[in-house]
């Protein structure tokens, strides 16, 4: 078979691919990498009803739960969004759109109170109609002492949630937040019936749970009276757990599954060269990072952090890990497509001398242990090795500890001081920053505790003046780039692959992989 390995090679797709998914690819290839919705609408494909959709996805575990509060990975996101809806969701244009809510607005000028009006006549799978109380119950599921929800961080600012009418929910915040509604897009925020058990999987979603074996598969059937008539084309969806990358590709190539996620960029050129395969990309949708806990020696030293930031060869990483896809990061968690992205911050690149310089100033600490497994981010092990090599050239010794993939997120991440991690980029700057950099954020993986930072972040939330707001975010980004604990070498296009039978795929910038994990209700099976 042809052996394209040069970065550009896969940019010349085969003829038939161009024919299949001009929209997708051309969009994917468009300069800024920002996916233009027009491009999708351009070809106006005709949805096909029916069929059995099979997804082969990574990151399932036999200890998974259906309760959205416990979602941490793409697999359960995708399953969850088949069963549950959120109050709001992201559109293909990357903007907020109503899902269960028909409208929403800030009730006060400081954006500290928000009112959501729910659509009428929406039914849960058990036939019960959706009312405000259900939303209240579901959101409170993520609040308070007892809750272990991963969504907790999103709602920390919430002081009160009330049903102000049968179909109206009013949320009060401790401080104003112009971006608050975006929080309700989060995949933890699935809405279930009042008082219900989320593990039962009863929601308003496009599909009804038939069978769930943790770590094996989930089977769902189409919800006949789904509230969004223009979606949910297939009759049933089977979401199969496939933790082995090779197995996933094999399953796709052998036609056992229609869609797989987490395609290794290295395999991309060869995979896309295969007939009957289309590549589904979401631009700069994930960031790969090596978080350092700034509360732990030696990483509590800014110079060491800088040394490491200079000691990593981002171009080399992009070349070997992403084979040229994605984009180089600047230790800045804000993606380049984000309106608030600080374009003027100079891109940091590999510089052995600067690295050595800062390393010396940090007192050349001896034990720099980087703990990685392939779960940190795909290829993180190789990345760590390359990092190790480039750092060595700057006289910095990193010893790479390879830990088992299973339980990486429970045992290593947030525990070890220097690890590999990845985030699906959040729709708004605020969401992104408060998710992992606010002092009290549950997933504050760099243990970044800085009051002024928190304060500025809070100000930005309530600041409705665009330019001022931009300025604040700019300052925050500068601070992070210079002092932050996040070493962010790469932004990655999430690469999924699908059989060319799949139609209707749209990328959702900021919504994460697989059409913001709502792929099940978006796509259809061409026959």
């Amino acid at each position: 078979m042809p052996d394209h390995t040069t970065p550009s090679s896969f940019l010349q797709p085969t003829r038939r691919q161009l024919l299949q998914n001009t929209g997708l690819l051309s969009a994917a290839l468009s300069a800024g990498g920002l996916l233009l919705p027009e491009a999708v609408r351009a070809q106006e494909p005709v949805p096909v009803k029916g069929g059995h959709l099979v997804l082969g996805l990574d990151t399932a575990s036999s200890s998974d739960r259906i309760d959205p509060a416990f979602y941490t990975e793409a697999y359960m996101y995708t399953v969850g969004f088949q069963l549950f809806n959120t109050v709001l969701e992201l559109g293909p244009d990357g903007k907020l759109a109503g899902a269960l809510a028909e409208s929403w607005e800030a009730a006060t000028a400081d954006a500290s109170t928000w009112v959501f009006k729910l659509k009428k006549g929406i039914q849960f799978h058990n036939g019960k109609e959706l009312v405000a109380q259900d939303v209240v119950y579901s959101l409170n599921h993520h609040r308070g002492e007892k809750s272990n929800s991963g969504g907790k961080g999103q709602l920390l600012a919430v002081t009160d949630i009330k049903a102000t009418d049968t179909h109206e929910v009013t949320v009060t915040l401790s401080a104003g937040n112009a971006d608050f509604p975006a929080a309700l897009v989060d995949y933890h925020m699935g809405i279930g019936p009042d008082g219900g058990d989320f593990d039962k999987g009863v929601g308003t979603g496009a599909f009804i749970l038939e069978d769930f074996q943790p770590g094996v598969r989930a089977l769902t059937k189409r919800n006949p009276n789904y509230w969004a008539p223009d979606r949910a084309h297939v009759d049933s969806v089977e979401t199969i757990a496939m933790s082995d990358a090779t197995a996933r590709m094999a399953a796709l190539l052998s036609g056992q599954v229609h869609i797989i996620n987490r395609v290794e960029p290295r395999a991309l050129s060869r995979l896309s060269a295969r007939p009957g395969v289309q590549i589904l990309r979401s631009q700069e949708n994930t960031m790969f990072c090596f978080p350092m806990r700034v509360d732990t020696a030696p990483y509590d030293n800014v110079d060491l952090r800088l040394a490491l930031k200079y000691a990593i060869d981002r171009e080399e990483l992009q070349r070997s890990l992403l084979v040229g896809t994605g984009a180089i990061g600047n230790d800045n968690p804000i993606a380049s497509w984000n309106p608030f992205f600080a374009k003027d911050i100079p891109q940091r690149s590999y510089d052995a001398d600067k690295a050595a310089f800062h390393f010396k100033r940090a007192g050349s600490p001896s034990s720099i242990q980087l703990s990685v497994s392939d779960n940190g981010f795909p290829g993180s092990v190789d990345a760590a090795q390359l990092f190790q090599a480039s750092a060595a050239r700057a006289g910095i010794t990193i010893d790479v500890e390879r830990v088992p993939s299973d339980g990486y997120w429970d045992e290593v991440w947030l525990k070890k001081p220097f690890v590999a991690s990845n985030w699906s980029v959040r729709p708004t700057a605020d969401a992104m920053l408060s998710l992992i950099l606010q002092s009290d954020a549950p997933w504050n993986e760099t243990a970044w505790k800085d009051e002024t930072f928190d304060k500025l972040l809070a100000d930005a939330r309530v600041e409705l003046d665009e330019t001022k707001r931009r300025q604040i975010y700019h300052d925050l980004q500068v601070k992070l780039v210079d002092e932050g604990g996040e070493l962010i070498p790469l932004f990655v296009d999430n690469i999924a692959a699908a059989s060319d039978k799949i139609g209707g795929y749209v990328a959702v910038p900021g919504g994460g992989d697989l059409s913001g994990y709502r792929i099940a209700e978006r796509v259809w099976l061409n026959t």
Binding site: G56, S61, S62, S63, D64, R65, N148, K152, D211, Q213, P214, G215, V216, R217, L219, I240, A241, M242, S243, D244, T246, A247, A250, A251, L253, S254, G255, Q256, V257, P404, D406, G407, Y408, W409, D410, E411, L414, P442, W443
Partner: protein
């Protein structure tokens, strides 16, 4: 393996009883080891579960909830008591009834093992006999070399090769074996074919070689010469005179491989996405999901012990001295 049959005048039933008793004692000892082992696993369950939210208060409440503040001895007794009645408690990580979630996976594991065994055992014994019959000939050598190569391939490598050839190059067989309830046996069979094949490759060589050697050993004994002098055809000599006396080593190696097919297939489960016991255990180990680790460990040990008892008993039955005491 359990203590070899001591022969003597013991009647079959007495012997079976003794074996079973021995097995139970062994199993109990294993349970002790497993429990102790899981106790000394580094890392605290509660904080492992809570992750970021591991506030002392929360940890305490969790420990309370899991009854971890009781002394180990008490917990062991409780656990064993439950285990005996088939109740392995609930998983720490996802609160599911372990017995319930093990059941289908155990079934899958056993099914795969059974399928592999159904192919591998007759095949390897047949090959073994063929080799013994043609010992030293080119047939013998070829079979020997081929099977040797088969056991020498690392399973995961063999697995991927099979996938690459049968599933990707030609779309003959499914590459992943996600079985689920409601699948007809036929469907299961097709789906499980590749993992099954991988396992067969892994075990055939071992059993075949053992069969061959066992037979050749017997062939050197005087009563084979007697049979030769009777002018019997070689085939009859092997079937009627050699095979019955080679049963016990063969049975033992078969048992060994069966055990392997049940407890040694984690790799195959990963590659072929097969929902078996191994994957289930691996998922929970890292989460310090002690009850699950204990349960699976115990189940595996029980299977291993049972297989060995079975092997012992079969070789006892195959041995006329023990079947017909003086």
């Amino acid at each position: 393996m359990l203590a070899a049959p001591k022969g003597g005048g013991l009647s079959l039933w007495a012997m079976l009883a003794r074996r079973l008793a021995l097995g139970l004692v062994l199993l109990w000892a294993v349970s002790l080891v497993i429990f102790a082992g899981t106790q000394i696993l580094p890392g605290d369950v509660a904080s492992a579960m809570l992750g970021q939210q591991a506030t002392p208060a929360a940890v305490a409440s969790i420990r309370q909830e899991l009854g971890l503040e009781q002394p180990a001895a008490v917990r062991y007794v409780k656990w064993l008591g439950g285990a005996v009645t088939g109740d392995f408690g609930r998983s720490y990580s996802n609160r599911q009834d372990i017995a319930k979630s093990i059941a289908p996976r155990l079934k899958n594991t056993l099914l795969l093992a059974a399928m592999a065994a159904a192919i591998a055992i007759p095949l390897s014994i047949a090959l073994g006999i063929a080799c013994a019959l043609t010992a030293g000939s080119w047939i013998d050598r070829t079979i020997g070399l081929v099977t040797l190569s088969a056991i020498s391939l690392p399973e995961f490598f063999a697995g991927y090769l099979l996938i690459a050839y049968f599933s990707v190059m030609h779309l003959w067989l499914p590459s992943s074996a996600t079985v689920s309830e409601g699948m007809s046996l036929g469907q299961r069979f097709v789906v499980m074919l590749l993992p099954c094949l991988t396992l067969v490759l892994a075990v055939v060589g071992h059993m075949m070689r053992m069969t061959r050697v066992a037979l050749l050993n017997v062939m050197t004994s005087p009563y084979i010469e007697t049979a030769l002098l009777k002018g019997l055809p070689r085939s009859r000599i092997v079937w009627k005179h050699a095979l019955p006396n080679a049963v016990s080593p063969i049975v033992n190696v078969v048992a060994l491989n069966l055990a392997y097919l049940v407890v040694g297939v984690v790799v195959v489960e990963v590659i072929f996405v097969y929902p078996g016991m191994g994957q289930y255990l691996v998922d929970h180990v890292a989460k310090r999901d002690v009850p699950v680790v204990q349960a699976t460990g115990l189940v595996f040990a029980a299977i291993y012990i049972l297989l060995n008892i079975a092997a012992d008993m079969i070789s006892v039955i195959a041995n006329p001295r023990l079947r017909h005491p003086r």
